[in-house]
């Protein structure tokens, strides 16, 4: 049996599961607020073209608008000035998107401190215990996606905001330049911490990761359903020509843990 056939059978029989790591896209999808002088990105908006009515008696359909970087989304290297000579979205071959993923869990730490930052030592320690997949993904699990439907909580704006967890500048540099990972994903509105505009350099994960030709995934859901190792990650951004990123259906294939 060919491997794709074996995967299909295992999915059908329940030995493998496909987990949806994507949030629903709607007008309630939280958008990042950028400090001056950044241009604000438009939020999700949908217009019904017809709904079984005189504009189309047999069909219902909509048009929609929004930003490339909204909801569960993908960052291509050209999104950042450091990656400006890198890949745009439509030229990334699919076999570079798909790869093994590992999950580093800081749910408890983040519950205690919403400004928690993952450090180089954290990643090195994880690497020693579990390894980092060559050409694969590191996913930062924090439990943050439970806040996705509450804009103020998701963007950490209730106090002196914006507060949400991320990585230190050195950790971003380490992941980008000293590992063989191809991408990094988080549950937050972006791959950098809420206060990262004030880091050196600002937005270090964007700066180093995209500058190294690697990829980012943000606003991921359901990371708590993934094992620490053993996920096959399938990020599926739209193939926007010249795109800097895209809302992204993201699929994880895992071995089933609960009855098939």
């Amino acid at each position: 049996m060919l491997i794709p056939e074996a995967i299909a059978s295992a999915l059908a029989e329940g030995a493998l599961e496909a987990v949806d790591l994507s949030h629903v896209l709607s007008e309630r999808t939280p958008m990042i607020d950028l400090p001056e002088p950044f241009a604000q990105a438009p939020g999700w908006s949908m217009t019904t073209l017809s709904a079984y009515d005189e504009a189309g008696p047999w069909f219902y359909w909509n048009s929609f608008s929004g930003s490339e970087h909204m909801g569960t989304h993908f960052d291509a290297p050209v999104h950042w000035v450091t990656g400006r000579n890198g890949e745009e979205l439509s030229t990334i071959p699919p076999n570079k998107l798909i790869g093994n993923a590992v999950v580093i869990d800081r749910t408890a730490e983040v519950a205690a401190d919403p400004d928690y930052l993952l450090t180089t030592e954290d990643v090195q320690e994880f690497e020693q215990s579990h390894g980092l997949p060559t050409d694969g993904w590191l996913l930062f699990r924090t439990g943050w996606s439970a806040r996705h439907d509450d804009r103020a909580a998701f963007l950490g704006t209730s106090g002196t905001g914006p507060h949400w967890p991320g990585v230190t500048s050195d950790c971003a540099r380490y992941i980008a330049e000293e590992t063989s990972l191809r991408g990094y994903g988080s549950e937050q509105v972006g791959t950098d911490a809420g206060l990262a505009y004030d880091f050196d350099p600002p937005y270090p994960m964007h700066h180093f990761l995209l500058g190294s030709g690697k990829y980012g995934l943000a606003s991921l859901a359901n990371l708590h359903r993934l094992p620490i190792t053993g996920t096959l990650l399938i990020p599926a951004p739209l193939r926007i020509e010249g795109g800097s990123g895209s809302p992204c259906r993201t699929i994880a294939l895992i071995a089933s843990s609960n009855g098939g």
Partner: protein, 270 residues
């Protein structure tokens, strides 16, 4: 689930990952690039038009965003390589919207029925129920939960709206075929043309029978697929990844296929 099968699942996944790296398994991109010239279906003027894909630059390493490049997007749901959910059609109005579809249904095996030669000779050729039955005689009955994809070579016309729409002459299923597929166990039907119905489907009764019967039966549609010529007749695993639009009737999407065989010119046939 036993420890044995968890091992099996993990072995399969690591096997797939390794096979991808070694090139034993390939990922085929079934998606056309999305641009402002991506062809869209044209409807009679009494109906609402389907808007083209549009990209608007928000910043490009300039005063609007010194360190970032980003765009706003605007499009119809059914533009470019795209997904039709059951609620897209009046017969499926009680069915699922695109955000409600279970992930397991979006990762499924695909059959590819090849009508390239017929479509070259007659761009208005029909996929018939007899074609599907003959395919099943050769490859076995369509397995429940699988996709049936119609390969025609039509993707080669995608760079031109005029050639792609071809004055509403393009291949697709006839009435009986649409009914046959709707009654089968497939999860959905996919095509290289701008929509899952034949170019003349609007003149049939009921109009657009593939939409009418398939979406009415809770099945899905895939349109404007690319690279179907790189897939085997059986044995590919299809990943259809529409955006998870709340209440959406469909979505522009990314679609991939995992295949286990090389189909370059040096490879053996079959």
């Amino acid at each position: 689930m036993t420890e044995q099968s968890i091992r099996t699942g993990n072995d399969l996944l690591s096997g797939l990952a390794a096979a991808l790296v070694e090139g034993i398994v390939q990922v085929v991109d079934l998606t056309h690039p999305l641009t402002e010239t991506t062809p869209v279906i044209e409807l009679p003027s009494q109906f609402a038009p389907n808007p083209h894909f549009k990209l608007t630059e928000l910043s490009r390493y300039d005063e609007r965003g010194p360190v970032s490049y980003k765009n706003a997007i605007e499009t119809g749901e059914h533009v470019g390589t795209h997904f039709d959910a059951p609620v897209h059609w009046v017969t499926g109005r009680a069915g699922l919207s695109v955000d409600e579809i279970a992930m397991e249904q979006l990762v499924a095996p695909a059959y590819v029925i090849d009508k390239t030669a017929e479509a070259e000779e007659d761009p208005g050729c029909w996929l018939t129920a007899e074609d599907v039955r003959l395919f099943e005689e050769e490859h076995g009955a369509l397995a429940p939960g699988s996709w049936l994809l119609l390969r025609t070579g039509w993707a080669n016309r995608h760079d031109s709206q005029e050639l792609f729409l071809n004055e509403s002459i393009w291949p697709g299923p006839d009435m009986e075929c649409a009914r046959y597929l709707a009654a089968s166990g497939i999860v959905g039907f996919g095509t290289e043309a701008v929509g899952i119905d034949h170019g003349a489907g609007g003149r049939l009764d009921p109009p657009f029978p593939a939409h009418y019967y398939l979406l009415g039966a809770g099945k899905f549609g895939l349109a404007s697929l690319a690279n179907l010529d790189l897939l085997p007749a059986t044995g590919a695993l299809l990943v259809a990844a529409p955006l998870r639009i709340a209440g959406g009737s469909g979505s522009s999407m990314r679609a991939f296929a995992f295949t286990g065989v090389t189909f370059d010119t040096d490879a053996d046939d079959g």
